[in-house]
């Protein structure tokens, strides 16, 4: 079943005087999808998020969120978007509860009971309920980040823009945020646009990512696609009890094996055309040649490899 498009940008351009921060960016994000927005500092990620959140208007191009045009219906767009900014943007002299209460009302949660229960639900989820009456200024960086995420979710927005959501969080908190993002996407069908430097987050959460550099889109695709397309050769890492020349020769003579290198006294790195068809043949050949296999690991190119390669290429 085709999914509804939640975010649709077409040829988005944003100029600041003579400097073009975002240059003809086009992308679509489906309802319930977690879409990653990756790129180095100054790539134009924050400017794009600001355009999507109606904080900046595009110099050219168009963008629709939930069917509303960001230039023509900004109030409607703001109502359905939850934004986590790069900076927590909290009122430090207000308590955690007062911060939540203000934004709940600003986003139209006027029913007192509904507002109270939503705030309690979020503060409890983020382990901030016990500190609800403390001023936000007294919170640690991680607690501020959690409160800022809670604030972005207070009105149950169908589209959520998260700029570095796990920044400043300890591993446990970062994991709980990732779990929350997965839940928001799968159960609540929220559409999430995730701006991040943490490729681990993108790898674990995003169904598709777009890599941007100098305001331009370099590539868009699923994590696996991207890694396969950009990550280079497929390599099998085989650890043996002992390696012998006979084993190396036996593996090297197999079809679809491009290269065999003895990486260490008991490790072979085997470059192959395809993991699925070649791995069983490699295992069989090693066993038949008298080798004793301890482990076999396909070295799947990571998103990080692909990302670094793309950014490097874009610079040249």
């Amino acid at each position: 079943m085709p999914r509804n498009v939640a975010v649709e940008a077409e040829d988005l351009i944003r100029r600041f005087n003579s400097f073009t921060a975002v240059d003809r960016l086009s992308f679509r994000v489906d309802e319930g999808e977690v879409f990653g927005f990756l790129g180095p500092n100054g790539a134009g990620k924050t400017t794009t998020v600001r355009m999507l959140a109606c904080l900046l208007s595009p110099s050219e191009g168009s963008c629709k969120i939930g069917g509303y045009d960001v230039s023509r219906e900004p109030l409607k767009v703001r109502e359905i978007v939850g934004l986590l900014t790069e900076n927590p943007s909290l009122y430090e002299k207000l308590t955690a509860y007062e911060n939540m209460d203000f934004f709940a009302e600003a986003y139209g949660l006027t029913d007192l009971q509904e507002k109270k229960s939503r705030i309690a639900e979020l503060l409890e989820f983020f382990d901030l309920w016990e500190r609800r009456n403390d001023k936000a200024g007294t919170f640690s960086k991680g607690m501020k980040q959690k409160l800022a995420i809670a604030r972005a979710l207070v009105h149950r927005p169908p589209v959520i823009l998260l700029d570095e959501p796990t920044s400043g969080l300890d591993p446990e908190s970062a994991r709980s945020i990732r779990d929350l993002i997965k839940k928001l996407s799968s159960q609540d069908r929220s559409t999430i646009l995730l701006c991040t430097h943490r490729l681990e987050d993108a790898e674990k959460l995003c169904s598709r990512v777009m890599i941007v550099n100098q305001g331009r889109s370099i590539i868009v695709g699923s994590i696996t696609d991207l890694a396969n397309r950009m990550g280079g050769q497929k390599v099998l890492l085989v650890t043996l009890k002992d390696t012998s020349l006979k084993t190396v020769e036996a593996v090297g003579s197999l079809p679809h094996v491009k290269e065999v290198v003895q990486a260490s006294p008991n490790q072979l790195t085997i470059t192959v055309d395809d993991f699925d068809s070649v791995t069983p043949l490699v295992v069989k050949s090693i066993v038949e040649s008298g080798g004793m296999i301890l482990t076999v690991n396909p070295l799947i190119p990571s998103l990080e490899d692909a990302y670094l390669k793309l950014i490097k290429e874009a610079k040249h």
Binding site: R50, L55, V81, L83, T85, K93, L94, F103, G108
Partner: protein, 274 residues
């Protein structure tokens, strides 16, 4: 324009401001100095010292520069009574214009430029509150407390003046209401709005609270000129002058707000983020 959203901004800002001693401090200290300390000092100090004659002699030269109607008002009073009456009725009047200007510029600087400086503005601007609602809320939070402080100071000042005069002279002396009532309830609101409007314009051009407050402080210069004019007798704040000033500042308000509304744009504010 949804008034409830403007009130929401007002409530949020007021909560923040009342916990900020950088803002609340001057709003308490300056009015207390002007409404309590000055009249008490003018009323009580000469009665405890031997400077009555010399101060009366000094005042005679000032009296010569005053209009006839004021000289008639003080005819028949003793030297110390004249000093007290002239001071509390006329010389201190322009000082009371300092209170709304100071209070509204301090709050408006914090509310507009302070929010940029603390980088809280982005989340606020991303919420579904229109520019007009945001501006109105922030004007209300600058205007209402400054009027409260001004009116409160006037009540305290009148009470102190009456009590001091009763204690020192055994008679009740009140500031002339024909001047003070239009000044406090007519001139100070329009003056406060001018100060807020100019602070909005200044705040949209600067990055921080301090910068905005320092530039807004220049708004006190015309009032200091007024004080000097009053002391020298060149410009006495009578009902006519007060009425004229109300009209002039109302016209300035209109112009300043048209410019202020034009400058109060989300993008303009964000582009000046530190």
């Amino acid at each position: 324009m949804r008034f409830d959203k403007a009130l929401l901004i007002f409530r949020k800002d007021w909560r923040e401001i009342r916990r900020n001693w950088q803002v609340i401090g001057p709003m308490i200290v300056v009015p207390l100095l002007l409404s309590v300390m000055l009249p008490v000092l003018i009323g009580l100090v000469p009665s405890f010292t031997s400077t009555q004659n010399s101060s009366t002699r000094d005042l005679e030269s000032v009296l010569r520069g005053l209009p006839n109607n004021i000289r008639e008002e003080v005819s028949g009073l003793s030297g110390q009574e004249i000093v007290f009456y002239i001071m509390i009725s006329y010389f201190f009047a322009p000082f009371f214009l300092i209170i709304p200007v100071m209070a509204s510029t301090v709050i408006a600087s914090d509310s507009f430029a302070g929010e940029k400086e603390r980088r809280t503005i982005e989340a606020l601007l991303a919420s579904p509150i229109s520019d007009g609602e945001l501006l109105l809320g922030k004007i209300l939070v600058s205007f209402i407390p400054s009027m409260f402080v001004t009116f409160g100071s006037f009540i305290v000042y009148s009470t102190v003046v009456i009590s001091t005069s009763a204690y020192v002279f055994g008679a009740l002396v009140m500031p002339p209401l024909a001047v003070w009532i239009p000044m406090i309830f007519g001139l100070t609101p329009v003056l406060s709005l001018t100060a807020i409007g100019l602070t909005v314009i200044i705040s949209s051009r600067v990055k921080g609270f301090r910068e905005a407050q320092q530039i807004s402080g220049l708004l006190l210069i015309p009032i200091i000129i007024l004080v000097l004019g009053q002391v020298s007798g060149a410009l006495i704040l009578g009902p006519l002058i007060v009425g004229l000033l109300i009209l002039v500042f109302a016209a300035i308000d209109l112009a300043v707000f048209v410019i202020g509304v034009r400058l109060f744009r989300r993008e303009e504010i964000l582009s000046k983020l530190a």
